[in-house]
Amino acid sequence: MIASVQRLPADVLFVVFTRTAFVAALVALLALATPHFLTVDNIVIVLRQAALQFLIAAGLTLVVITGGIDLSVGAVLGLAACVAATFIANGAVGLGIAAALAVGLACGVVNGALVAYVGIPSFIATYGMLWVAHGLGYVFMNGEVIHGFPAGFRFVGAGFVAGMPVPVLVAAGLIVALHVVLHLTRFGRALYAIGGNAVAARLTGMPTRRHLVTVYALSGMLAAVAGLVVIARVNAADSGTGEELLLTAIAAVCLGGTSLFGGAGGIAGTAIGSLILALVVNGMNMLGIATLWQAFAMGAIVILAVLADVSFHRRRT
């Protein structure tokens, strides 16, 4: 605990300063470039977009803190969404939600077991899971689109409470909950210890393998939650749901200052990262840049964010 408290200021200052400057610059640029940007309607749109991106990146953040990666979040999101959609479209909302969480949990536990107990590098294990989940999603949907969910379920993605979109409120709750888990529980501090030095963490007697399985399971389940919110928002699900979300999720985590080397970062950073990405996407739309360029922007942002992380990491060591 002492170590992590001592190390926090350098990280936090660097992340908060650079990212706040980034957000301010983006907002200023967009406000100058288009008069429609600084309207209440548009800001609500940006916040909702940011919330959706945060939900996908939240579980991934925990995995990255342990020094791993989960490349299957987008595919697991899609599979969970497809399975849930079949139940929910027939009115069985509770069953659908439970099925989605079960799918996420199962994929996550398999990922975690492969990484922690079998000893496969996390990017290989979760890359395999990406294609397994993706293929199963295709098989399950058989090329069809399910749409038209009950209004009560759609509220989760498209509704408003006190003028705020529900996904924003869900994201806000999740930020608080995960922040508490990361910084005030033994489990959370163990994640930083594993990411900082896995061997040392094991030698102190922490159940590192069990913690790793829990982390990947959480990542899978949070991806499933994100899938539920996504299909509630667009009122439809097909096997392609979530396909393009992997790059943005990694971009949000990296932009938020969580180091790919593990042991440093936090959930608040990922929230800021998601906000930056939402601003970039919204700005590109406002400026009339074709959506086909968005994957290019995400790829470039991932590379630049990690480049910054790597050079910062080098200067400190």
């Binding site: 000893g119 290989i124 890359y127 395999g128 294609w131 098989v139 790829g299 470039a300 990690v306 790597v310």
Partner: protein
């Protein structure tokens, strides 16, 4: 029985020095030959070989990258971009075939060098660099084509798929040529010895005064150059270039490399095994097609095969 028992059995089981792909090929051929009489027909086996050509070329480049303890997730997207660039030059700008080929290779080498520089000089994890490149290359290919196929290619392009020389189809010749060149590169040049050594002990190599970073850039550039070559064969086969044609082919390539016995650690492996691995994947996909399993299932099955292969490798490798 404890839970550790299966792992212990696997560890004590000394397999002869043959990559897992060899067993898999034998098993798959046996299963599919029994399940479907057409499988062993000359026509179908010829099809398997042609289908495997692009994958094999991609896998050979991937082998070198994995030998250096890296990975290249961008190869499928880069392949798509190269094919699209060559096709657009041919169709819209009336470029000659050699000029279009050169342009595709230039695009490939540029993408590969960007990957290599970011990995070697910036010290970024290979899977992140190449995932970013995947996004950028795919996006560029989509922007260039507005997401459509490029059709109306000059008939000369089809030579890359239908042509033959001394009774051997061009795609097979291309595979043999690339295999030969890569084998010579790995086993008869300093570059090849450095590739194994980078995976084995990069730090020691650096201390010995070898400019490891330059060679690493060359490895990523070579892999992407082979992707450009594979794009020509694939474009000729489809008689069109599509921006997302090869998305996911890098996954088959990784599976081929791992099945072929190349390990993610310590620079162990080689391209002979990769050739077998690519054949195993091609046989698997062809056989699944023949017995009527949809492409969607195939994605899941190949995913399971790769995870199982890596898991077995990891369990056997640990002491």
């Amino acid at each position: 029985m404890t839970t550790a028992a299966p792992a212990a059995v696997l560890r004590s089981w000394r397999m002869p020095d043959v990559p897992g792909a060899a067993y898999l090929v034998v098993i798959l051929v046996g299963v599919f030959a029994t399940a479907n009489a057409d499988f062993l027909s000359a026509r179908n086996l010829g099809n398997v070989a042609l289908q495997a050509a692009a994958l094999t070329i991609l896998s050979l480049g991937m082998t070198l990258v994995i030998l250096t303890e890296g990975i290249d997730l961008s190869l499928g997207a880069v392949l798509g971009l190269c094919g699209v660039v060559a096709a657009i030059l041919l169709v819209s700008y009336g470029a000659s075939l050699p000029a279009a080929m050169a342009a595709a290779m230039l695009v490939g080498v540029t993408a590969g060098m960007c990957n290599g520089v970011l990995v070697a000089y910036a010290g970024m994890p290979p899977f992140i660099v190449t995932l970013g490149m995947y996004g950028m290359a795919q996006s560029l290919a989509m922007v260039l084509t507005s997401g459509n196929s490029v059709t109306g290619l000059p008939p000369a392009v089809r030579w890359f798929n239908e042509g033959s020389w001394i009774g051997t189809p061009v795609p097979i010749l291309a595979v043999l040529a690339v295999f030969g060149a890569t084998w010579l590169l790995l086993h008869r040049t300093r570059f090849g010895r450095y590739i194994f050594a980078i995976g084995g002990n990069r730090h020691a190599l650096e201390l010995a005064g070898v400019r490891v970073r330059v060679w690493l850039v060359a490895v990523y550039a070579y892999a992407a150059l082979l992707a450009a070559l594979a794009s020509l064969i694939m474009t000729a086969r489809m008689n069109a270039a599509h921006p997302t044609i090869a998305i996911g082919l890098e996954f088959d390539a990784i599976a081929a490399v791992i099945l072929g016995g190349t390990s993610f650690e310590k620079g162990r492996g080689g391209i002979g095994g990769t050739l077998l691995g690519a054949i195993a994947i091609a046989v698997l996909r062809n056989g699944l097609n023949l017995i009527g399993l949809s492409t969607e299932w195939q994605v899941a099955v190949v995913g399971l095969v790769i995870v199982t292969a890596v898991a077995l490798d990891a369990l056997r490798g640990r002491v």
